[in-house]
């Protein structure tokens, strides 16, 4: 038999006295857990979200600054000239006057007589007028890099029937120059036949030297126009200056045959905002 004699100093109170050392660690543990759950984790989540937001905003800011740089690099006068030239090249509405001026000018230049000219343009000014065009198609697929709200505008054409008479060479010259004429147009049907005896004998603009026309050409052309877009893209959408190919195309269009319209012809240029409603 073993008889253990506990010393009088080692009492239950002595053993329980050890727990006084645990109060602070336990309290600290609670504080840490509390801070972790209620402060640290939500704050970390918020920081992560904020960093993402900052990253996105930085991207947006960079894009906007780039846009400002592009806009600052533009020459306003040059742009205005381009707008005016392109408005004549591809009018925003059915500009019958411009078409007549051009056809008449080409007829004078090539020496043919413009005998008949018929078209049914419908309404000339309103947006609904442009909807009644003879041929239209969306341009959504064509605007890739610069695809923006401008795509809401549409390319359409107006059919015009024309009859000319003149010498074969003159008619040939007229027809071959037709697709190099401002405004842009395309020959859609052509019917050549010898001119009848009754046809007028005077060349356009040169009545002093009458010649007997040899060939008569009945043809239809499609004069193209593109209505103005009704709204711009969002302000954050990036823009680019004219690409090399676009500049090349513009230069090519400048070489097309153009006949000046009289000052009375109203061309919607020089406006502060070309997209603003009429």
């Amino acid at each position: 038999m073993i008889d253990i004699d506990l010393p009088s100093q080692v009492t239950l109170r002595t053993v329980l006295g050890m727990k006084k050392y645990l109060y602070f660690p336990i309290l600290a543990l609670f504080v840490v857990v509390g801070l972790l759950v209620f402060v640290a984790v939500p704050s970390i989540r918020k920081v992560v979200l904020l960093r993402q937001e900052i990253s996105q905003k930085n991207e947006t800011l960079r894009s906007l600054e780039q846009k400002v740089e592009v806009l600052k690099s533009l020459d306003e006068n040059q742009l205005l000239t381009q707008v005016e030239n392109l408005e004549r090249t591809l009018p925003s509405r059915k500009d019958v006057f411009l078409l007549l001026t051009s056809l008449n000018g080409l007829a004078s230049q090539t020496g043919v007589s413009l005998e008949q000219f018929s078209l049914a343009p419908g309404s000339l000014a309103t947006a609904s007028a442009t909807d009644s065009s003879t041929n239209r198609s969306t341009a959504q697929d064509d605007l890739s890099s610069s695809g923006r709200e401008a795509a809401s505008s549409q390319l359409a054409s107006l059919g015009v029937e024309v009859k000319i008479t003149g010498s074969f060479e003159a008619v040939k010259g007229f027809l071959s120059n037709l697709e190099q004429l401002i405004p842009l147009m395309r020959l859609t049907t052509l019917d050549l036949s010898p001119a009848s005896e009754e046809t007028p004998v005077s060349l356009a603009g040169t009545t002093a030297l009458p010649v007997v026309p040899e060939v008569s050409a009945n043809f239809t052309i499609a004069m193209f126009y593109a209505s103005l877009p009704t709204q711009l893209g969002t302000i954050t959408e990036p823009i680019q200056t004219l690409t090399e190919s676009e500049q090349g195309l513009y230069d090519k269009l400048l070489s097309f045959i153009s006949f000046p319209a009289s000052p009375s012809a109203s061309v919607p240029t020089g406006r502060e905002d070309v997209f603003a409603p009429f």
Partner: protein
């Protein structure tokens, strides 16, 4: 036999060990608490800093937007130019009717052959013409010239639709010419 054990010495050792452990725990807890406090402070500071940074960038964005807004007319002109060029490019990429073939056929006719009519339409890959030849020799001569022309000008087929002889010996004929669309 009775064995007697005196634990007094061990008790003192245990108490000293417990005190050491207790102090060690308190020290560690204090360090952890301070470290965690610093970490929380840093996290909260980072939150505030990020928040301010986000606000500052938002203000910069608004300022830049205002600048762009002032230059909106310029942007609209640029978009206008680009749109017109896109459409112009599209128009120019497609060709109209083959007026070159029509006038070319017309040029083939000589005094003995009179072309009455040459017609071509945009969606067709052929043109038709009718002509009158003075006699069989003129007709044969014209057809020879036509076939030579066809070989030189992307013509895929030449079809004689009708040939008729008039009482005066002249020949009236209709021909279709199929070509490769540009």
């Amino acid at each position: 036999m009775k064995i007697s054990i005196n634990l007094l010495q061990e008790t003192q050792q245990i108490q000293a060990r417990v005190r050491r452990i207790g102090l060690w725990l308190q020290t560690i807890s204090t360090v952890v608490l301070i470290a965690f406090g610093v970490l929380v402070f840093l996290i909260i500071s980072l939150t505030f800093w990020s928040d301010r940074q986000a606000n500052r960038i938002s203000e910069d964005i608004e300022d830049t937007k205002a600048t762009i807004e002032k230059m909106r007319p310029l942007e609209s002109k640029l978009l206008f130019v680009k749109q017109k060029l896109t459409f112009s490019g599209r128009v120019l990429s497609e060709h109209g009717v083959r007026q070159d073939l029509a006038t070319g056929i017309y040029e083939l006719s000589k005094e003995e052959v009179t072309l009455d009519h040459v017609a071509v339409a945009e969606d067709d890959d052929f043109l038709v013409f009718s002509a009158t030849a003075k006699d069989i020799f003129s007709l044969v001569g014209f057809l020879d010239r036509l076939l030579s022309y066809a070989q030189e000008h992307e013509v895929t087929r030449v079809i004689g639709n009708s040939f008729s002889r008039a009482e005066n010996g002249s020949y009236q004929f209709d021909i279709s010419i199929f070509f490769i669309e540009k």
